[in-house]
């Protein structure tokens, strides 16, 4: 039943987002919890990404949020894989947890790189050619979340001669991070995401402790989504979807609506 309500709501939401209002809060999470298709889920969650004043960042979606929104996880994995190969989106590995991945549409990612480059130009931090090479040669050819040092150099050198300090520029801008286990490999990263990652892990802890403190470790979803999280810049809906998808919370259907409970496993 939730699915049919979800479809109806989806059409309404799509009309609304086309009209430009993407920060509409009256959509209750309860009615929009499940979607039929990965791409639809991605688009809607992108539209529902919370608007933040302090940090300018393009919308991204966590993989655990997708798992909570589409029933069949294997289907999600496979559709993500084919979308990734079609270069519609990119997947980034985050350092907030064991298996956290962030999904961002390719256009949003390129916009984000643009913002960062502009900011670096204002501060006049030197030769910014490398960003152009990165954008044209690396982003389109290397679709995996990680890249080896040698390969990075060879892809960048298609644009021009690569020096070590240029790679440091890329790392400083936040586009690449070194892997902890292997110093020769880099993870692709979303620039300017640092404070948000901190917000994600703290928000998760806060939400779990909020529910754990209650007597029966559960709360009605309608009440829960109206609360505000102190420590995280992202909204409650974002965190609820994320925790349901990673298995820390589970939903129970009751006659009065959905109830969110901390899962015991």
């Amino acid at each position: 039943m939730d699915n049919s309500k979800g479809k109806k709501r989806q059409r309404e939401i799509e009309i609304e987002t086309e009209q430009g209002s993407d920060t509409a809060q009256p959509f209750s999470l309860e009615e929009n919890l499940m979607f039929t298709d990965t791409l639809v889920a991605l688009r809607i969650m992108r539209a529902q990404f919370p608007h933040m004043d302090k940090v300018s960042i393009q919308p991204f979606i966590l993989q655990s949020q997708l798992y909570s929104s589409v029933k069949d996880r294997t289907q999600v994995d496979r559709e993500l894989e084919s979308l990734r190969r079609q270069k519609v989106l990119r997947i980034f590995k985050l350092n907030t947890g064991q298996d956290d991945h962030a999904i961002m549409f390719l256009d949003d990612y390129l916009n984000q790189i643009e913002c960062v480059v502009k900011r670096m130009e204002e501060k006049e931090q030197g030769d910014l050619q490398v960003f152009e090479w990165f954008r044209t040669h690396v982003v389109y050819s290397k679709l995996e979340p990680s890249i080896e040092h040698q390969e990075l150099c060879s892809l960048l050198s298609v644009g021009g001669e690569v020096k070590d300090r240029q790679i440091s520029l890329l790392i400083n801008a936040g586009l690449l991070t070194r892997q902890l286990i292997d110093s020769n490999m880099y993870w692709f990263a979303i620039p300017n995401i640092g404070s948000i990652l901190k917000g994600i892990s703290q928000g998760r802890k806060e939400l779990l402790s909020l529910l754990n403190r209650r007597k029966y470790k559960e709360m009605m979803l309608a009440l829960l989504e109206k609360k505000h999280l102190r420590l995280s810049l992202l909204d409650m809906r974002f965190h609820i979807r994320d925790l349901i998808g990673s298995g820390h919370l589970k939903t129970i259907q009751t006659p009065t609506g959905l109830v969110i409970q901390v899962s015991k496993d």
Partner: protein
């Protein structure tokens, strides 16, 4: 049930499908056994369980207090309960620290000799692998390893070798030969300890190892170096299509750039076309010198794989299981993910198993049903049965008080044995019809009238 028997008699249903249907029906009714109980003599967590492969009668268990015990699971030692319906199985014998040749520290893995139950092999944290004679419970052979032994394995298919593959905290996999009592050779390539070792069920020469560095390597023990390293980013969507539908030309792509050209790997470009000639493509001709940074060493072509740093999991690989048809490999990692790999193409099939948390510090033992439809995975304090191709949780077994380490599925009578940190070995059996229970045992007809 009777209809099915009738169909089988009339020839409308084939024997195989009849047995498979009955077996899968029984598996779907698995629950904590109310007629079978194993009395465990262990006083510490149980690390490994195995029922012997020849008769399916003797269960070998190994625990962290350096003890190992053997139980007869088909014949109970005594009966208990009202009407003698609960069969208690005590151990036939147990070896522990008091044994003069016994291990000193925890036994991490104990396996039967695959040919018969006359020998069994134990590997322990005291750096020794001991081969025991079952009938006399004496140690026949001793192998000293350079580090704690995490897993030992022997090939059940082998007709020409008797090698024990040992995964230890040392980076090399060692092969010990029972026939000669010496080490045969070592396999290098992993960059950290090796937690799981499995022999292939389709070839007696192929060994699969999973390391703490997150890599899964396939070794052909007749050659040097590994011939495949599983990479989680090499994916295929589901099963490979049968051979006739695939395109005839093999699409081989250089996935890594020039400097890493000595590591050719096959990456499927089109979603439906898979080519899997990894073997011949892995090694470059001998004369080529790989130019990697400043180290210009001349490497043996078999050893080129040590530069391949592909990982199968984001953490350590804690469990491996090959399906009985030898086509698929299941791996569990400390990143709490379980992955299904296609052995022939080496690709991740992207099946998502709904696991929340898996044990990260110890190795876990996975089990599969004979037709590879379900995989049993110890997930913290429960054992979950997942459907192999959709990843959904099909059954959940919750009875242990603490983390479960190992499980074994006996396909003969569809029983599941699980052992955990709470020192218990629990038996899960399919539900029985009432008439079976009182079947062949003499039941005292006792009335409860007071006079």
């Amino acid at each position: 049930m009777w209809k099915e028997i009738e169909a089988r008699e009339a020839g409308k249903m084939r024997t195989n499908s009849f047995t498979n249907r009955i077996k899968s029906h029984r598996v779907s009714t698995l629950h904590l056994s109310n007629h079978k109980d194993i009395v465990s003599p262990h006083r510490a967590s149980i690390n490994s369980l195995q029922v012997d492969l020849t008769e399916g009668r003797y269960l070998l268990s190994a625990a962290a207090d350096a003890s190992a015990a053997v139980f007869d699971v088909q014949r109970a030692t005594d009966y208990e309960g009202n009407g003698n319906i609960i069969a208690k199985h005590k151990s036939i014998f147990a070896i522990d620290k008091q044994h003069e040749q016994g291990h000193k520290y925890a036994i991490s893995s104990a396996i039967w000799y695959p040919i018969d139950t006359g020998l069994f092999i134990t590997g322990s944290y005291d750096h020794y692998i001991k081969v025991w004679d079952t009938n006399t419970t004496q140690v026949v052979m001793n192998f000293k390893m350079p580090g704690k032994v995490y897993r030992v394995a022997m090939s059940s298919l082998s007709t020409s070798h008797m090698l024990i593959a040992a995964g230890t905290e040392d980076v090399q996999v060692r092969l010990c030969d029972i026939a000669s009592g010496a080490f045969a050779h070592t396999l290098s390539g992993h960059r950290d300890g090796i937690m799981s070792v499995e022999w292939s069920t389709s070839s007696e020469w192929v060994l699969m190892t999973g390391g703490c560095d997150g890599a899964i390597r396939f070794w052909d023990i007749r050659r040097a170096g590994c011939f495949r390293v599983l990479d989680q980013s090499q994916t295929q969507l589901g099963r490979r299509p049968p051979v006739l539908e695939r395109s005839v030309t093999n699409k081989v792509l250089m996935s890594k750039s020039l400097s890493a050209s000595h590591n050719l790997s096959v990456k499927p470009r089109a979603l439906q076309k898979k080519s899997a000639n990894g073997n011949s493509m892995k090694q470059t001709p001998v004369g080529r010198i790989p130019a990697k940074g400043s180290a210009k060493q001349r490497l043996h072509p078999g050893m080129l794989s040590c530069h391949d740093r592909a990982t199968a999991h984001y953490g350590a690989v804690t469990g491996l299981k090959v399906t009985e048809d030898g086509m698929y490999l299941l791996s569990a990692g400390s990143d709490s993910r379980i992955r299904l790999w296609d052995v022939e193409s080496g690709c991740n099939t992207l099946v998502n198993f709904e696991t929340v948390r898996l044990q990260t510090t110890k190795a876990i033992q996975l089990a599969t049903t004979q037709d590879s439809a379900l995989v049993f995975v110890p997930c913290m304090t429960t054992v979950k049965a997942f459907d192999v191709w959709t990843g959904r949780t099909s059954l959940s077994f919750r009875s242990h008080y603490e983390c479960v380490n190992c499980c074994w599925f006996s396909s003969q009578d569809q029983d599941l044995y699980t052992g955990g940190n709470d020192r218990q070995i629990l038996v899960w059996s399919p539900s029985r019809l009432v008439s079976d229970e009182l079947g062949d045992r003499f039941v005292q007809d006792t009335d409860n009238w007071s006079d």
